[in-house]
Amino acid sequence: MGWNLVRAWTILVYIFMFLPVAVVVLLSFNASQFGSFPMTGFSFRWFVELAQNEAILRAFRTSLVLGSLTAVVSTALGVLASLALVRYNVPGRNVISTLLIAPILVPEVVLAVALLLFLNFLSINKSFFLLLLGHVIFTLPFVILVVQARLVGIRRDVEEAAMSLGASPVQTFFQITLPLLAPAVFAGMLFAFTISFDDITGTLFWKPGGVETVPTQIFAMLRNSISPEINALGTVMIVLTVGLPLLGLAIARRMAAARGG
């Protein structure tokens, strides 16, 4: 009896959280002019319009480039930082570790304003590069957390064994450490990409004039009117940010299974 109540409550909570998302997806296929109920028919019309909207396409390209660059830079830095923190006795290791994780703990608005004021103070103009820098700063902790956790689990003696067999430290890294680290590197990269792709707060503060990412573009569009295109765009975003990690996970599982679990 008690458990049934809990079960029903849980289901209601999930419905409350996911119904709006489902509605957006549903309405993106609505043939009506207005992005709301009632549904007047099933149509891909808004997706087609979306594909023809120059501003959105530009924003999409910007987001893709920004997300990919953020993922690559953040992952490269994150792997290097994790290696240093886990494998070497860096002085002030704990302080560095805390500093690297800090961007998660600090509210994003604060971080955004702080970086903006700092750039102002240095009289550096906003640019795409600085936007990228901002995204790297707050995706880095996720990469580091994931990679570090995995790296701790890779025994040092496996690397020592490789070196004793004749592999130089660099060869050991690429032959042994990196392949064993791959799932975490992959996961970190996906994290970085989706977080960057989704981000609006920081991006609003940091983006140079005229540059829009998908979230800021949606935000701008919402200020004028609620176009059904936004629903379609939302659907595309959901597919990307939910589908991509799921796909990645599936690939990682495959890879793991192929080498004997």
Binding site: R155, S164, G260
Partner: protein, 360 residues
């Protein structure tokens, strides 16, 4: 020629000295064991030979070449780790072939050598499997195959058996010795297990607190301990306080509280010079308990009372009180064991005793 030479090696970690000025010569083809409790410096020494640690002082040579500044991947060593350290993302065959890649071995040749190595460790069928699909004992054999396939100058074994369960450990002990014998490779073995050391080694180096306590053949170290630490660490010993009266002829007379005067053969007391305080060492299995009425037959005999009996099947370990002393005796059981509270005659042959000087 020596395969490995350590000359005045010192290793410090900050204020702590892990290895005190140690020199050692490991002859080509021999099986040398570094034996001691954890923290005695044996693994530190092994890691210095391997190149995983730099000595603070001293010189390490492998086959006559000074290797202090040679990094591990250029030393041509085979190392087997306690936890196997196989590469989990590579098949068994790829694991074994790993070292050959860096030695410019042709593909066909490499394949052949991998097969030979698998055969040597008696696992010819597992080449395509991944390490996780093998048992602990099998994984350790693969680790051994991987280490020896590169024909290293020296094989370093860091407690390779301690992660295995008891039965497997004894099998692997025999196996390891067989393989070492067959390929005749110089081997340095690190363990805290005295039975492994005694069973496998040509030479045992007993270490304690970063110092070499004694080095020698297994029988030497076991029968003629040179320090109290060695006497206590290997086997079960009774160590009695006594006074040496100096050597006379081939014997050294030791006066002890419990057994009176015992004349120990000179070769069992090599470190004892002149008179003064000394220790008498009697192995627990050399101390015989007998019924008081039987003939001592030339043995030194004193009366004692059995306090505790630890029954072990074909043998028993007795704790016996002789005067103020509590002694241990491990005897084969003839008919039935003595009972607690029995009065017994405690006997020992002088030539089964060893004597050492009082620790400085």
């Amino acid at each position: 020629m020596s395969a490995v030479t350590l000359k005045d090696i010192v290793k410090r970690f900050g204020e702590f000295t892990a290895v005190h000025r140690m020199s050692m010569d490991i002859p080509e083809g021999s099986f040398v064991t570094l034996l001691g409790p954890s923290g005695c410096g044996k693994t530190t020494t092994l890691r210095m030979i391997a190149g995983l640690l730099d000595p603070s002082e001293g010189e390490i040579s492998i086959k006559g070449r000074r290797v202090n500044d040679v990094p591990i991947h250029k030393r041509n060593l085979g190392i087997v780790f306690q936890n196997y350290a196989l590469f989990p993302h590579k098949t068994v065959a790829e694991n074994i072939a790993f070292g050959l890649k860096y030695r410019n071995v042709a593909k066909d040749e490499a394949k052949k050598r991998v097969e030979q190595a698998l055969e040597l460790v008696q696992l010819p069928q597992v080449g395509e499997r991944y390490p996780k699909q093998l048992s602990g004992g099998q994984q350790q054999r693969i680790a051994l195959a991987r280490a020896i396939v590169i024909e290293p100058d020296v094989l370093l074994l860091d407690e390779p058996l301690s992660a295995l369960d008891a039965n497997l450990r004894e099998d692997m002990r025999v196996e390891l010795k067989r393989i070492q014998h067959r390929i005749g490779i110089t081997t340095v073995f690190v363990t805290h297990d005295q039975s492994e050391a005694l069973a496998m080694s040509d030479r045992i180096v007993v270490m304690s607190q970063g110092r070499v306590e004694q080095a020698g053949a297994p029988e030497e170290v076991y029968n003629t301990p040179e320090t109290e630490f060695v006497a206590r660490f290997l086997g079960s010993s009774n160590i009695l306080d006594g006074t040496s009266n100096g050597a006379s002829g081939e014997e050294v007379a030791i006066d002890t509280a419990g057994f009176g005067r015992i004349a120990v053969p000179k070769n069992r007391a090599p470190k004892l010079n002149g008179s003064g305080p000394a220790k008498l060492v009697i192995r627990a299995e050399k101390l015989h308990l007998a019924k008081p009425e039987t003939d001592p037959d030339g043995q030194i005999a004193v009366d004692g009372v059995v306090e505790t009996v630890d029954y072990q099947g074909q043998a028993a370990r007795y704790f016996v009180r002789v005067g103020d002393l509590q002694l241990q005796a491990i005897n084969m059981i003839d008919d039935h064991p003595f009972n607690e509270g029995d009065t017994v005659s405690v006997r020992v042959r002088p030539r089964d005793c060893a004597a050492l000087p009082e620790a400085r």
